[in-house]
Structure formats: C-alpha cells, structure tokens
C-alpha cells in the first residue's frame, strides 16, 4: 500500500513530539517530511536558560539528532521556512523553493516573542528570547558589552536576566507590575523572590514602563522610561510575553482567532490540517508551557494514526522557575478575590519559606510555594483531582509527610509519593513508571532513567525528585505496579468507566467485555486482563466466567511463585490457631517432599517454601488442609491475639472472632490483598492498626479500624466505628470490604481507595445507611456462597488441571 504523506511545519518540541508519538503507535503509515526555519534539528527550547547560565551546552539540549531523522526515514529540511500552503492541491512551499505534497499537514509553528511597539525596538541589540540564535547573541554580547536590560519580570525574563548575570553583565529587570511573576506568585512570594535574586546581583525597577530605546550607530545604548529616568543599555531583551505564530495558517485561509483554532482532536477547520503547540488556540486558550503541548501531541498522534481516540480537553498547568538555587512552585488560581475562597498561609521570612494554599468549596484551587517546594506535586495532584480536603485540612500545610507515615523516619519525599503521582509534569511520567523502569531494567543513573522513561528529560526541574526515587528504589523495597488513569495501553477507558460498562452492559466474559468496549488489542495484555477478570467476577458473581488464563500465575495455580520458579504452600490456619494433628501433618508433608524451608509467616501460619510445581497437587492431597490464599488478591489472614480465653488482660474473645471472620470471608477475591486482625484489648497485640480491617476488643464491644497498611508505606488504620456484638463486627467489616470490592480500582489497597474517596464517604455508606450496609453485607455473602477450597478441587479433578504436569520428552 502506498504510504500517505505527512508534512510537519515546525521542527520544534510540539511538532516533533507528535512525530515521536506517531512513530510509536503507527510507524508505517506515513512518509514524513519536516520543515524547520532554524538551522538545527529539534532541540529542547526550555533548556535555553540553563545554556545561557552555563549549566548546559547546545549539544546537551538537542532532542533528536539528524541521525534520528534519517533512521526513521524522515525528510528534514532545516533553515526552510514554509511561507505558503496551497490547500487545494495540498502542497506546502518553503521560502527557498522547496515544496512538499501532503495528505495530512501538521502545523506546529510555535510562537513569537512579543516586541513592544516602541521607538527603537528595531535597533541592533534589541532582541526577544526564543531560540538558539537569541541565546548565542546574548552570550556573544556579554563578552563585549556591559549593560543589559531585560524588559519583563516573568519566568522567561528572570531566567534571561539570571543567565546574563552569570555571563558577566550588569543586569536590570524592568517590570510593570508591583512584584515579579505576578501570574505565578502573590505579592509576598514575589517580594521574597526579588530579594533572593537581588542577592544574586540582579537589579530591579518595578512599576516601571519603558518609553523608548535610543541608540548610537544603529546599536542600542540607552533605554528611557515613562517617569523620565533612563539607563545605559548595550543589550535589551524583551520578555514581555509570546504571541501564537499563526500568520502562515491565516494566509492559507485556515480559521484563526488569536491562534490557529482547533477542536478537541487538534484538528483545524480544514480536516486534513492539524495543529499543535503554542500556535494553537484551543477553547480560546493558547498555552506557552511544555506540558500542555505534549498532551496535545499525544492526542494528535492518535488521530493521525487513524485510531480516532483521545481528546484534548485543556490543561491545568503548574510552573517552576529554572533558576538554580531558587525553589518556587505555583499552580492554579491564587488571586486575592473575594468569592468565598480561603487561604492557608505559612510564612517564615527569615527561613525564606512561604507557602500559600487557596481553598474554595473544600478543594484546593491554587498554591504558591516558595523556598520549600517538595510538596508541590502533592498539592498539584489534589488540585487537579478536585479532592475534598476537610479531613486533612489541619495537616495540609505540613505536607504529605505529616499524614500517618509512621515507621519511615529519614525517608525522603520520593518515598512518600504514591505511584500514580506525577514526577515529571512535562512528560507525564508517574513515580510508578520510573520505579518500574529502574527495577525491571536495572537502571542506575539519571541519564538511564531519562532515556527509558523520559522523566526529567524536558524542563529538568524534577531531576532532583527522580534522583530521590532512584536512590530509594535501588535501596531496596518492591513497589507494586501503578494504576495510571487509563487501565492500560489497550484502552483509553479508566477503571471506573470499565466497571460502569461491565455493569450496564452486563458483560460476563472477557472477550465480550473487550469487544463491547472496543479494546485496541485482540486479547488485552498482562495488565488489563487480570483487572477485567476481577471486575467481571466482582460485578456479576456466579454469572461471570472466571478466566484462569487472565489471572496471574499465583492465583491460577493457588501457590506463590518464587524467584527460582518453585512455589510456596501456605495452608489456612483459621485465626492463626493450629493443632498438634495439623502440625504433624505439615511436618510429614515437609519431609515427604523434601521442602527446603519451613517458615512461620507474619500472618500466623506456616509456609512451605521451594515446592516444585509438579508436586503441588500431591502435596495438597497429603496435607488435606484448605488453601490459605496467601497468593491471592483477596482475603489473606486474620491475625489474632490470645484474647480473653487465656490472656489476663483480654476483654474479648479475639481468637474466636478472628476464626469467625476468616471462615465467613474465606475464598474472597478483592482488588488487592486484604488483611484483617483482631486484638482482644487496646494493647493491640495483633497489630490491628496496620491492617485493611483492624478490630480491637474493648470492654463494651469492638472498635473497627479501616485502611491500615504495613507495607512499603506504613499507614495507620482510621477509626470507623464501635459496635457491640460479634455479629455486628461481621456485618460492618463485611459491608466495608464489599464496597471496597465493588468500587476500588484493581490493585488498590483499602488505604488507596479510602484516600481517593475519603473516609467520610465510607462512613456515610457504612454508618449512615443501615439498609445499604446490610445489603452490601448480603451481596458479599452471596458472592461467597458455595465457594470451594481450590486445593481440594484440584486434587479431585486432577484430569482437568493438566497445568501441573510437566511433559517429558
């Protein structure tokens, strides 16, 4: 088949990101031609500031080398500015006479620095700050001249000023507003920033307007202000804003309104023409930051690849200033408007720390951090998710570390981040992705991580965080795979959407579900299939078909795979209670099968490790004990203390309560493992405070705690309620677990689920809605009805489980 022709106008970050994404998903459908008006291959424009500050070189910031274009069969024309598009004949013409026909055209023409329309703006030495050429000119000027004036105290202006200072010039920043970065900072933080920059040797003139620039022999030498004062200037950098560069599109008759107007699929009014990046006006907004451009690129690439999926719905952005030694972070809306918004402020003027959170209707709508930005990502995540904050409001200002993270003293921020939290906002890389890359690929250096995950490879402001993650990951500790927004690459639907569709359309098996939800792959992948299987079973118990091939090996063979391919066998000991008879049986089995290690687990039972797969069924037969589900995303153990039967302090029979719970909820599958504990008194010897459901006996009944976790990040369980009888313990804890089973995302522990929906929600479902609680408990019991011990089943129906037999030839 003849390939279609894709012509890309603009060899910058947005256009090339589309091409990269496109090559990933559909490498063979286009012959690609790229035109760029600069003489370089694609480079990282946002790293020009570090280049100016002598922290990087031009070579460091090249993103795609000429070899890359060649390897991917992309025709690249540099120093070639397209000045005409013939949409009727579908040809793009460059100034130098080159032309290219297209089937699809991608406009990524970026933006232009806005030059103040004042006298003298065209003198030599008056420049914008946009590209390598400008940067080179600044570096060259610094070698021969002394006085630099930067007009504009925004992000770009300050980075330019900082760089010029480092290059050895005397720099004055002229700014119209009363404080710097007024779009990103409030007055207090703006003033703190100014102080820090003044300490670096920069000069500022605020509330100052430029009137005209005068020169000598065609070159700038003085800048004059509205108040009549003036300053010597050998170089004037205008950094007063950017304007989308859409003149080409406009001249081609494509509808523009302060930018090239695109819909949510990045298509312009000409269906063959797409546009991304700073040149675009999407829902009336033009973005000048890199993260939105990359989001647009992703969407655009799926449409160019004819997948027809993905929509760009606009971006909430956050910013950081790339001036070494200055930490600031801002996101959202933090203006001082009287519309019912509230502020929480922490200000340590001497320590140079300022934090402000703006809250409206129980949600964070903006944040400004100065001096200590470590919690920026956490606040930003809550802002974007619109998470209600009243439960943590008291601690909010003190950061994520203040929230029940016991037992991890000395751990840094990275360790406290959850897997779905974004580390690299430019490339949308979550911590989980980085950790997985580090572990699976044995990465050791920042550069490796950048290469493999792209985290930290754009603006670089998250490199410190990536480094922390690298350190904490290599230091040991396994992190389970993250669940990002879409279930996996096979679909764009998120977990909640998948669940809802399974319910609405009553899908009962995986093929129907995948077909009905237009899965992109014929039979999914190792990420989505286990999730789908669980969602089907939990939504339609007794009706949906369990697919063993969509279960992870441990659940398929009811044993835990070990690093050498052997398995471990853990029989149930309800409530951690065993008998001489059981112990003898276990000992005999361990002898008979020469089990290399017998170990007592943390869940109060016995683990037989190093068993060959082909011995499993025989061993289960000899053991004649139920499976302990120690391998399951489901009920594991119910840990108990001695309780009132023997213990002199015990107030309740915790052992029996534990046995009753374990028996009642035996065979239960769940989004992730579920651990219970029952203690007979507040001394809490069964460690109920770090279990998914922890129960503590008190003289007058039982206290129920939920959402505890003793894993990678210790989480203390939160108090749910107090009940009187053991029947109530079963009902309340059962209802809690059932709602978790029905609503949490696959691979969410209870703590993650509660973190997302809030404890208030859980309380409302369990405590305030008695009918709903009873119904949920009934649904759980119904789901568990008739469940069989999987080991006995496999012993009995050996013939149907060939899986355990090795074929020898």
């Amino acid at each position: 088949m003849q390939k279609m022709k894709l012509v890309v106008v603009g060899n910058g970050m947005a256009g090339m990101r589309v091409v990269e994404e496109l090559l990933k998903i559909a490498p063979d459908i286009y012959d690609i031609t790229v035109f760029g008006d600069e003489p370089y291959p694609n480079y990282n424009r946002i790293m020009l500031s570090p280049v100016l500050a002598n922290e990087q070189t031009i070579n460091d910031i090249i993103l795609n080398t000429r070899e890359w274009y060649a390897e991917n069969n992309i025709t690249l024309y540099t120093s070639a500015r397209i000045n005409k598009i013939d949409r009727k004949n579908r040809v793009a013409y460059a100034e130098d006479g080159t032309s290219a026909e297209y089937d699809r055209l991608l406009l990524a023409t970026g933006s232009k620095p806005f030059m103040l329309p004042i006298e003298g703006a065209n003198l030599e030495g008056v420049i914008g700050y946009r590209d390598i050429k400008d940067t080179d000119q600044m570096i060259a000027t610094a070698k021969t001249h002394k006085h630099a004036v930067v007009i504009g105290g925004g992000l770009l202006g300050l980075e330019a000023a900082n760089g010029l200072k480092i290059q050895g010039m005397e720099v004055t920043v002229i700014h119209r507003n009363e404080w710097l970065l007024e779009k990103q900072l409030d007055k207090t933080a703006g003033k703190m920033l100014q102080k820090s920059l003044e300490a670096k040797g920069l000069n500022f003139q605020l509330k100052q307007n430029t009137k005209e620039i005068t020169g000598k022999d065609g070159r700038v030498n003085t800048i004059h202000f509205a108040d009549g004062s003036s300053l010597p200037a050998d170089l004037v950098v205008m950094a007063v804003g950017i304007r989308p560069n859409f003149s080409l599109a406009e001249s081609a008759g494509i509808y523009c309104n302060k930018g090239i107007v695109v819909n949510d699929t990045m298509q312009t009014f000409d269906p063959r023409v797409y546009a991304v990046g700073e040149c675009v006006a999407h829902r009336g907004i033009s973005y000048g930051l890199v993260a939105p451009l990359f989001e647009m690129a992703k969407v655009c690439a799926t449409h160019l690849a004819n997948f027809g999926i993905g929509q760009y719905k606009g971006s909430v952005t956050s910013t950081k200033l790339k001036v070494t030694g200055i930490d600031l972070f801002s996101a959202g809306d933090f203006g001082n408007i009287d519309d019912g918004r509230e502020e929480i402020v922490l200000h340590d003027a001497v320590g140079g720390v300022y934090k402000k959170l703006v809250i409206k209707d129980d949600k964070i709508i903006g944040s400004v951090l100065y001096g200590d930005t470590a919690d920026g990502a956490w606040y930003f995540k809550m802002l974007r998710d619109g998470k209600p904050i009243h439960e943590i409001r008291d601690h909010l200002m003190f950061g994520q570390d203040s929230l029940g993270n016991t037992g991890h003293q000395g751990q840094d921020k990275a360790a406290a981040m959850t897997n779905e939290m974004e580390v690299c906002g430019c490339n949308g890389v979550c911590k989980g992705t980085i950790v997985k890359a580090i572990q699976d690929q044995g990465l050791f250096t920042i550069d490796d991580v950048k290469k493999q995950t792209k985290a930290g490879s754009s603006c670089g402001s998250c490199v410190g965080l990536v480094e922390q993650i690298l350190a904490s990951t290599l230091g040991g500790g396994y992190a389970p795979p993250s669940t990002s927004k879409a279930v996996c690459g096979c679909t764009d639907k998120n977990h909640e959407e998948v669940r809802a569709e399974i319910r609405t359309h009553k899908y009962l098996n995986i093929p129907d579900a995948m077909k009905g939800m237009s899965w992109r792959t014929p039979n999914g992948c190792a990420t989505c299939r286990p999730a789908l299987n669980y969602y089907l079973l939990s939504t339609w118990p007794h009706e949906a078909v369990d697919d063993p091939q969509s279960r992870f090996i441990n659940e398929r063979v009811h044993a835990n795979i070990q690093k050498d391919g052997t398995y471990s066998v853990i029989p149930r000991m309800y409530g951690g209670v065993t008998s001489p008879d059981q112990l003898r049986k276990i000992a005999d089995v361990a002898d008979k099968y020469a089990v290399p290690m017998v170990k007592v687990t943390g869940g109060q039972r016995i683990d037989l490790l190093g068993v060959k797969k082909e011995d499993l069924v025989d061993m289960w037969k000899d053991l004649d004990m139920p499976s302990g589900y120690a391998y399951a995303k489901g009920i594991r153990t119910v840990k108990t203390c001695v309780g009132s039967e023997f213990c002199r302090f015990g107030t309740q029979n915790s052992t029996q309560m534990g046995i009753d719970i374990e028996k009642a909820f035996d065979h239960m599958w769940a989004p992730h493992k579920v651990k219970f504990a029952v203690s007979g008194c507040p001394r809490n010897c069964a460690e109920s405070g770090i279990k998914d459901v922890g129960i503590i006996g008190v003289d007058s009944g039982w206290e129920i705690y939920v959402g505890g976790n003793g894993g990678i990040k210790t989480e203390v369980a939160q108090f749910l309620c107090k009940v009187k009888t053991s029947d109530e313990v079963l009902e309340y804890s059962g209802a809690f677990i059932q709602i978790y089973r029905e609503e949490a995302r696959y691979l969410d522990r209870t703590v993650h689920w509660i973190e997302r929906v809030g404890l208030e929600y859980v309380k409302q479902r369990i405590l305030e809605d008695a009918e709903g609680r009873k119904a949920a408990f009934e649904r759980l019991l119904y789901a568990l009805q008739g469940a069989v011990n999987p080991w006995a089943e496999r012993v009995e129906k050996r013939e149907q489980h060939k899986e355990f037999e090795t074929i020898t030839i």
Binding site: Q439, D440, P522, G524, R529, Q549, K563, G565
Partner: protein, 109 residues
C-alpha cells in the same frame, strides 16, 4: 539435522496458556521449553527461561503473541523470543507444527 518430537495433544495446551516440556540438550542436561498457544490457536515454543532473571516464561500471562514473565513482567515475543523494548534480551525459539491433532517440536539433533 532436524528432529521432530511429538509433544502432546493440541487440546492439552490451554488457549492463551502454555505447558512445560522437559527435555535434554546435546550435553544431556535437562532444560524446559514452554509450549504456548495463542488465542487464534497458533503454537509457539520458546526456551522457558526469561532473559532477564530466568523466570519460567510458561507461567506468565499470554496475550497477542507475547508472554509477560511472571517474575518481573518482561514482555517476551513468542515469535522471535525477543524482549519488548526498552528491555533487551532474547531467549531461544523452537519450530513447532501440528499434525493429526498433536503438537510437534523441532529439537536440535
């Protein structure tokens, strides 16, 4: 010289699953081959050892023409035994055929 060996009835290899076939190499050392069946009933055979840390690939989740290693989820192609990028590694492949409802493996003689 080729050496086709009868392995098992086709029906005994589970769809989107695998069976372990134990055999000996030229030095009479035992090793395992994973024999896989895709959803569209193609049969593939690869060395049962993941190029990453030796995980038993036959125990992984099979999808498309790939298997995800049960230990650390490297994705290995059943077609050429190669790890999916950016992971790098490769495990040996064996030819297979189906005749009269039986699966055959081609071993090196």
């Amino acid at each position: 010289m080729s050496n086709w060996v009868k392995v098992a009835p086709f029906d005994e290899i589970p769809k989107l699953g695998a069976r372990v076939v134990r055999t000996k190499d030229s030095e009479q050392k035992e090793f395992d081959i994973g024999v896989f069946r895709t959803e569209d009933d193609r049969i593939f055979a690869i060395n049962n050892t993941c190029p990453h840390k030796g995980g038993p690939l036959s125990q992984g989740i099979v999808y498309g023409d790939k298997v995800a290693c049960p230990l650390h989820s490297w994705k290995i192609s059943l077609v050429d035994g190669k790890a999916e990028e950016p992971d790098v590694g490769e495990t040996a492949c064996f030819n297979t055929k189906i005749e009269d409802g039986f699966v055959y493996l081609e071993l090196k003689a």
